[in-house]
């Protein structure tokens, strides 16, 4: 092992925090770049757009009142009053939403 470049803790802090911020900021830029050049992005958007018209006609046939009542009761169980419930819509990320729901229910029960 060689000798340390510096033994001044404040210089070590300054250099390290600068490097950490620059590297992570650089990664955030790369993430944005990956999103921009993503060749599958448009295909997925088209697939979502194409899925909407096929789903729409089925909506009036189904009676969702019982489901809405259950969801409203679940939301109310979290402590919200009826005045807080403005809309109920499906979440975009089922895995994380389910994780959050499970965590929320556990906290309420405990």
């Amino acid at each position: 092992m060689g000798h340390p470049v510096t033994t001044n803790p404040f210089i070590i802090m300054l250099i390290n925090m600068t490097v950490v911020f620059v590297v992570l900021y650089g990664l955030s830029l790369l993430i944005r770049l990956i999103h921009v050049i993503d060749p599958t992005k448009n295909a997925e958007e088209h697939a979502e757009a194409a899925a909407v018209p096929t789903a729409a006609p089925a909506a009036p046939v189904v009676d969702n009142s019982a489901v809405v009542a259950v969801i409203a009761a679940a939301v109310a169980a979290y402590g919200c009053s009826e005045a807080n419930i403005v809309t109920i819509r499906p979440a975009g990320s089922p895995v994380w939403t389910n994780t959050g729901r499970i965590s929320g229910i556990q906290n309420t029960v405990n």
């Binding site: 390290n16 599958t40 939403t97």
Partner: protein
């Protein structure tokens, strides 16, 4: 008479070779410490999967004359795996396979909270140097604030191997105490209005992004900081197994069987470094106190950067997710979720907190690599 003499000589020989002749008060104290850690693991369920093997390793480390580290055998093999940095990267392989990088990719600005939370590492480093530790020891103590056990062990082995036991125990103990340490700091530095911010749903992340990000991340960080290439590389390889969709068996092994096996070896081996002569001194107490300061500093740094993002975004970012920047995946993110829900039931911060949480793992590895480059 001859039989009697042979019997006496044999008994004396067994006694002379037994551990009792080399047993010290320090060994007895450390065995009691090991039993207390076992009780915390089993009765209080403080990180039992880690604490139980650490505690039993601590008990075994205090039997004299075992020759664990002298004679070839399983204990020497475990010790070799720790001192030659084999186990920490393998743990990272499993962590990568278990972790969803989606929230980070969906909202890359949260990555900076993971950077800000590293301030605790350097607050503790400065404190350690003020207490008389040399710069390499101080860097190893400071990395406890990264709340990342494998990285702490990795850096300590390279810079201050004689402090491994105290640093590993402090790191894993505080990781298990994250739900107790973080909430008071989070509440202290945030207002009620800030804690009640509901963040927007994250955008869906494509498979292309999920696969390209680990590859790009490995290339960039490994070229920039070669000393931590094995840590980052294995973390990202594990994540690639998870996201590729065609390596399910490898992903399953990495996040279940392999990480469990390596955890047994790493934790037992860490406990084996807790012999009385290495552990029972004032430095251990100082390291434990400095580790706590590092954790508190890291949590405060993340929350304060969260407040800055709250102001910049016009109130769209909940500062509570900043505390997850200290790593400790996924416990720190869960703490953000729990504290957020206490103030606004139905507010789901978990997915948002996973962004800084994953960034914290990468940030701690970058900080460790930078310190290795500067100090070794």
């Amino acid at each position: 008479m001859e039989v009697w003499n042979a019997f006496i000589v044999s008994i004396a020989s067994v006694w002379a070779d037994s551990g009792f002749t080399g047993f010290t008060v320090g060994n007895a104290i450390m065995i009691v410490v090991g039993c207390v850690l076992l009780w915390l693991a089993f009765a209080k369920e403080f990180e039992p999967l880690l604490l139980a093997p650490i505690a039993f390793g601590c008990i075994m480390a205090n039997f004299p004359k075992t020759g664990f580290f002298d004679d070839p055998g399983v204990m020497l093999a475990i010790h070799y795996g720790i001192t030659n940095e084999i186990f920490p990267p393998l743990i990272f392989l499993g962590v990568g396979a278990m972790t969803d990088f989606g929230p980070l990719i969906a909202n890359p600005s949260t990555i900076l909270m993971g950077a800000a939370a590293q301030i605790g590492v350097f607050i503790s480093l400065a404190g350690a140097m003020l207490l008389g530790f040399d710069v390499k020891e101080a860097a190893s103590i400071g990395i406890i604030g990264g709340a990342d056990g494998p990285t702490a062990i990795y850096l300590t082995i390279k810079l201050a191997p004689h402090l491994l036991g105290a640093i590993a125990v402090a790191a894993y103990s505080y990781m298990s105490l994250v739900p107790l340490i973080q909430p008071p700091v989070m509440k202290l530095f945030t207002t009620k209005k800030e804690r009640e911010v509901v963040m927007e749903q994250l955008r869906p992340v494509s498979k292309f992004e999920r696969i390209v990000f680990p590859v790009v991340c490995t290339i960039v960080i490994s070229l920039l900081l070669p000393p931590v290439a094995s840590l980052i590389g294995m973390l990202m390889l594990g994540n690639l197994f998870r996201e590729s969709g065609v390596t399910d068996r490898l992903s399953d092994t990495s996040q279940n069987s392999l990480i469990n096996i390596v955890t047994i070896f790493l934790a037992t081996g860490t406990g084996m470094t807790m012999s009385a002569k290495d552990f029972l001194n004032a430095k251990t107490l100082e390291i434990i106190v400095l580790g706590l300061i590092a954790f508190i500093g890291g949590t405060a740094g993340g929350v304060w950067f969260g407040k800055i993002m709250y102001w910049i975004s016009g109130g769209k970012v909940n500062p509570l997710i900043g505390s997850a920047g200290v790593s400790a995946v996924p416990m720190a993110a869960r703490v953000s979720q729990i504290v957020g829900q206490k103030f606004k039931p139905g507010n789901f911060l978990l997915m948002h907190a996973m962004g800084p949480n994953v960034a914290g793992v990468i940030g701690t590895a970058v900080a460790a690599g930078t310190m290795l480059a500067m100090l070794s």
